[in-house]
Subunit: 314 residues, 2 copies
């Protein structure tokens, strides 16, 4: 894979329960030489799976197109009920520049992928993030407003909701948001309470849009785990608000409300800087650099085992 | 560099104050193709520098021999006063297997290096760790008993202290312990007190030899930082006692005694598993795998900048 155009893509698919479908999606994503499927994270409550693919830009694009075909064939949004907001079978497709790849490569990639998706499958496509064509479409939450169910009506009556490419109507596969962005961290924290209002209050305290921590998006979800709810976080500015700061804040806000935090989960991958920053803070180190990690400094190959089928969640 | 014989060597040299000598030592260690000097950690209180070199076994051996020549030329142990125990200018030379390299390669490497060092510089050499020829020489502390000053007399009167190779007497360069071992973590924690007895009590609580945590060696040192002492740790069994557990224990024991922990420092490198384990614990994650770190999963080259001369401490 050429370093110049190394990219990551993190398609979010509205299927988190049927193991056979998740396996087909994984197989499709892993079927292109030069694109590596490095993580699959499925959540039955969210009814959603997040795939992480890295490689050269052309190979990654092809990999996501193959995954799209499987998602569109097997997922019917009319039957889909999960706690996570969504507008389509292939719900969100962000392209992320890695190493020396400029953001412009991912913006072009998003536009090309979006057009191919719209043409091949008659899917309405909205461009978001750095690939947004309209300023009011930079934020994913604005595109997803009303979700799958509301979007049908909006498309019929509100010209402002017309897709950037693709038809003005959709079938059981819904619509897709395609974007370009910097790496982010998706991170969920369970709390030992059944009271969703506690999670909603904490989400309001930490999220940037209600005056909380910069670069933090937060939602509270019910959970199938008995006596638990979940605070679901997206961290988009790790320099402004490091991961360990948000987690400590959520834990503290929970305890203030008499609620014990339970375990957390990372959805997809985290940048090395977030892991090193978290470890440094926990150990009392002023900093911790990648060159201080033995395997990285020694450039040991195959530190990373390939994803095995048995690693598949669910 | 061939992966089959990838090794690390972490020579400890009894010079932590003279910048020009530390630069000469670094230049010598970095002068062999195929051996990378990835870290230099100098400590003026310890009067000691720790060099981390990684690469193919032959290149690393040559790099450490060149460093040895500089150490032996410039360091006079008769003038050396520091808080850290030592027996020689080139005090300790551990070889560590990396990646798929078997320990036997490092044992052979230690023996060959030790013989070459003894012959070239008339240095008494003791083999320790996995390279020990006598069971009572597995532990470095036993070899270093009496230190440089005591060893002269011991060599003259106690046949049990005779070196494994090299002469039975030494000059201003002293003796050297050469060994093979698994990776360890060297980690120092400052505490906000001038009372060394507090540090000594904490060191006794945490170290394995006095019934503390398995795989933990600990000493307390005075410090030139005003109002501070240091607890200096070596962790040799990270599966039994992870880094973050020891650090939390030292912090807790200090606070129990009314002493606030100050910052920590990592000497040399830490295995990725220790960094990931620390981050997982801090974030409430059941585990964190190397494949969940973006740069590792994407195998992004040159995550690691080479060590620059300006990075040199002191």
């Amino acid at each position: 894979m050429t370093n110049a155009k190394l990219v990551e893509c993190v398609p979010n698919v509205s299927e988190g329960r049927r193991r056979d479908v998740i396996e087909r999606l994984s197989d499709a994503a892993a079927s292109v030489a030069g694109a590596r499927l490095v993580d699959v994270h499925s959540d039955a409550d969210h009814h959603r799976s997040v795939f992480t693919i890295v490689g050269g830009s052309d190979a990654v694009e092809e990999s996501v197109l193959r995954l799209a075909a499987v998602a569109i064939e097997h997922i019917d949004l009319r039957q889909h009920r999960g706690v996570h907001p969504r507008i389509g079978a292939l719900d969100v497709v962000p392209f992320v520049p890695l190493a020396a790849t400029p953001m412009s490569v991912c913006v072009q990639l998003a536009h090309r992928f979006g057009r191919r998706l719209a043409e091949a499958f008659a899917i309405p496509v909205y461009f978001y993030g750095e690939a947004a064509l309209l300023p009011e479409r930079r934020r994913l939450a604005d595109i997803r407003r009303g979700q799958f169910e509301g979007l049908t009506e909006s498309l019929a009556h509100d010209p402002g909701r017309a897709p950037d490419v693709g038809p003005n109507t959709f079938g059981p596969s819904g619509a897709t948001a395609v974007g370009a962005r910097q790496p982010l961290i998706a991170f969920n924290i369970w709390l030992r309470t059944s009271d969703l209002a506690v999670g909603e209050a904490i989400a309001r305290v930490v999220r940037a849009s209600s005056g909380g921590l910069p670069g933090v998006q937060a939602l509270a979800f019910t959970s199938s785990r008995p006596g638990m709810i979940q605070v679901s976080l997206n961290l988009t500015d790790l320099a402004a608000t490091p991961l360990h700061v948000v987690v400590a804040k959520v834990h503290e806000e929970a305890r203030c409300r008499g609620v014990e935090p339970a375990e957390s989960e990372l959805v997809g991958l985290a940048p090395a800087s977030a892991v090193l920053g978290t470890a440094a803070a926990a150990l009392g180190l002023p900093s911790l650099e990648t060159r201080q990690v033995l395997e990285l400094a020694a450039e040991i190959p195959s530190v990373i085992p390939s994803l095995q089928p048995t690693d598949l969640p669910i």
